[in-house]
């Protein structure tokens, strides 16, 4: 297998993504962890590019690297957190969890290893956004609308939950 440009790009992006994940685990400062994960999200966007999904890649950058990361940073800033993340589990807990994750990974990898699907030519890269738009507004229009309702519910719910409940606090004092 010769080193094609695609492969080099994949390897680089995958390396950054995994590195970001590993940093998430190993770093001690909470803010650093979030920043490390931004790299992962960005490189995943690159992976989407490789998979000829330009629209999804852009959405990934916008929502994950942009919105969610910012929201998370706000969450960190609004709460008084310990600067340094102390390890919570005992050594045995971590070790057994690591073992379990490794076992899980091996088991799934065996599945992936045995998976052989012939590559077929696709036209996904041609007018990718248009294709998604057509699908979304013809075949998946009902899920799309349901999704918008879901977002509205999440919006209202988040506001209600996070709102400082003045009445309750007065009630507590009584």
């Amino acid at each position: 297998m010769s080193l094609s440009g695609e492969l080099i790009a994949f390897l680089g992006l995958a390396l950054v993504a995994i590195l970001g994940g590993v940093l998430l685990i190993t770093l001690t400062k909470v803010v650093h962890m979030v920043i490390a994960l931004v790299f992962t999200f960005l490189s995943i966007a690159g992976i989407y590019m490789l998979l000829s999904a330009e629209f999804v890649a852009v959405v990934q950058i916008l929502i994950y690297s942009g919105a969610i990361t910012i929201v998370m940073l706000f969450g960190i800033m609004l709460t008084k957190h310990q600067e340094r993340e102390e390890p919570s589990k005992g050594r045995w807990g971590k070790f057994s969890l690591l073992l379990a994750v490794a076992g899980f990974a091996v088991a799934v990898y065996l599945g992936i290893y045995n998976l052989h699907i012939p590559v077929q030519p696709t036209t996904l890269h041609e007018e990718n956004t248009k294709q998604i738009g057509i699908e979304l507004f013809s075949k998946y229009v009902i899920p799309f609308e349901v999704m918008s309702v879901l977002l509205l519910v999440a919006l209202v719910g988040a506001i209600v939950l996070a709102k400082k409940d003045d009445k309750d606090e007065e009630g507590d004092q009584l």
Binding site: S4, Q60, G75, K80, I117, I132, A154, I159
Partner: protein
């Protein structure tokens, strides 16, 4: 053209998923736990997009679904953070292991 095989993407997704899982189960800070869950969702998204290109019947559907997943992830992050704020106001902590009111 010898492209990157499907299994490479799947393995990448697997690795990211495992990292996210480990983080979700080990980290004490709720924010980090939430972010780890986002990472797991991302890994699943990679699978969706990869299968949309290399699947048995390649189609755009996988990408559409990954869009839905991203939307849900965003909603989940918002609600999760709102819960976090409410909890923090009551318990004055963001550590998962101190939120044990379900005990006994």
């Amino acid at each position: 053209m010898t492209g990157v095989p499907l299994s490479a993407y799947l393995v990448l997704a697997l690795v990211l998923f495992c990292i996210g899982l480990y983080g979700a189960l080990v980290k004490r800070n709720v924010v980090i736990v939430l972010i780890s869950i986002e990472l797991m969702l991302n890994a699943a998204n990679i699978n969706l997009v990869a299968f949309s290109k290399f699947g048995v019947t390649p189609s755009i559907t996988g990408q559409v679904f990954s869009l839905f997943t991203i939307t849900i992830a965003a909603a989940e992050a918002a609600v999760g953070l709102a819960i976090l704020m409410a909890l923090y106001r009551n318990r004055k902590t963001v550590n998962v292991d101190e939120m044990d009111s379900m005990k006994h």
